[in-house]
Subunit: 299 residues, 2 copies
């Protein structure tokens, strides 16, 4: 029996949100269509947050309106308050991913909320989402470290997970927003979240800012996690480390997993092709290793 690992493609949201380039709605839709052609079936396709705070996602309603709904893809919309949730429901998001925050300082600056306030906001918004019949997932951002204050207490992460479970979240991601995680810490935080929120499925969201992205994926998969976020090309960067790389790259994750015998359902050659197309669209190179080195053994 081949074990299946599902990749959630976050390039159109987390990737583009932090990229210096400005893609048009049509370019974003082409990116999404290319990802679907590569086998992606679940993807963060936009963010319903303040256009002032995140100008690159201001066109998310237009992107959602332009999606090809004949395809089997589940399009995830990101939200972090009631306004966002209402807009995501209106845009007919297939799933809403709510953003919790584990770091006090990051939370204040990123979404004007403390960790507890973000969890309370989730508890407030969850009924709206669930009553609309929309699957609800959540991501705990900066779950491994806060760019302003350093380490994030594992107890805060555990507490947020417990409250997310009570709110009705079906799947919870631990987000290493700034690339602070090591694989040893991944294991520890997964264990803690499982203890405090045993009924939620786990997903992991890693950035490769300090090179440990795939090490963290490996640790998570070994710990039994079956769902991993990744962005085509490894786009995404981090506003706090301008020269740093972004999310773990979809093609790198897929290569490592498939070479080790896992099944992802994704077409590596098409992903690499999409990463190369993306370099043209963005006007700069992307960070993924596979887009430079190619697969081994060669295709």
């Amino acid at each position: 029996m081949t074990r299946r690992i599902d990749i959630v493609e976050v390039g159109p949201r987390d990737g583009l949100q932090n990229d210096p380039a400005n893609l048009s709605v049509d370019q974003k839709l082409e990116f999404i269509a290319r990802l679907e052609a590569a086998g992606v079936r679940r993807m963060e396709s936009g963010s319903f947050v303040s256009p002032k705070a995140v100008p690159k996602m201001a066109d998310s309603p237009a992107v959602f309106a332009g999606l090809d709904r004949t395809k089997p893809t589940r399009h995830i919309a990101l939200a972090l308050n009631e306004t966002g949730v209402r807009r995501a429901i209106e845009a007919k998001a297939d799933e809403i991913n709510f953003v919790l925050v584990a770091g006090e300082a990051f939370g204040r600056r990123n979404q004007g909320m403390s960790p507890q306030e973000s969890a309370d906001m989730l508890s407030h918004c969850a009924p709206l989402i669930l009553e609309a019949g929309i699957p609800l997932s959540a991501t705990i951002s900066v779950a491994f470290g806060d760019p302003y204050t350093g380490d994030v207490d594992i107890a805060v992460v555990g507490g947020l997970a417990a409250q997310a479970q009570r709110a009705g979240v079906a799947e919870l991601a631990l987000g290493d927003t700034i690339g602070a995680a090591t694989p040893w810490d991944v294991r520890k935080r997964i264990d803690r979240v499982r203890m405090e929120a045993p009924d939620v499925f786990l997903r992991m969201h890693f950035h490769d800012t300090r090179g440990a992205g795939l090490a963290n994926v490996f640790a998570a998969v070994e710990a039994g996690v079956d769902v991993i976020d990744a962005s085509c090309g490894g786009i995404g960067g981090c506003p706090f480390a301008p020269a740093a790389t972004g999310n773990v790259a979809t093609e790198d994750v897929v290569w490592m997993l498939e070479r080790a015998g896992f099944e992802t359902g994704l077409d590596l050659a098409r992903l690499i092709e999409t990463a190369k197309w993306l370099e043209g669209a963005l006007g700069h190179p992307v960070a993924s290793a596979l887009s430079r080195a190619g697969a081994f053994p060669a295709g």
Copy 2:
């Protein structure tokens, strides 16, 4: 008790050997001195191979002659036949690392030897090295995949390890010369080598060609390996994937290990400084993540 992981710095050999830049002997000696100032105590400082095959290492005798021997560093010389061994002894290498090859096609092209011939050459050369009182280590190159023929049989790796042990090798590295390894395969091959060569210490040599470098380091450390090769800046590249990154970067490995509570004895800030100095000396950016993103928490 803090667990200690020893890093063998391979930048001056494996790194510079495959870099497009040509450093002078003085620049190489400055690189080595900067690494020593960052705490490096064991380093591949040159290669005694055919200057025609590897022109960038033709000056290794001059580099070894210029080393500051008042420092506690153990300078390793690489060799792959009797001529090289004799030259390395003459250069007063503190240790000789002999190169075995696990891939038939790669072996033929890289050193004109089959795997078996490389092992026989080691058996032939080992007495020379041991009688000179010089510690003998070996690296099995392309132990995870051959760029020409794809997968490398684990039985070949095990057989080479057994013969290396019989020849008197004290420490053996499995080399992922082209970035073909996954952490699952790392675990398997370590187990196999331990079965067939239980008396040799293990060292691992990874390239980050396909992004899995630190994942492989993590798998090796978890499997009980205490010695890891790395190059400052992640220089090294691979002649078979011109745009690809090189060895795992010393500063990235050190950051991940020290953040997870291991001790390496290396000074991260000085390593990053050396990687930046190296960018100037080489005339191009280096691949390490830490040289771009900095440490977390910020040093």
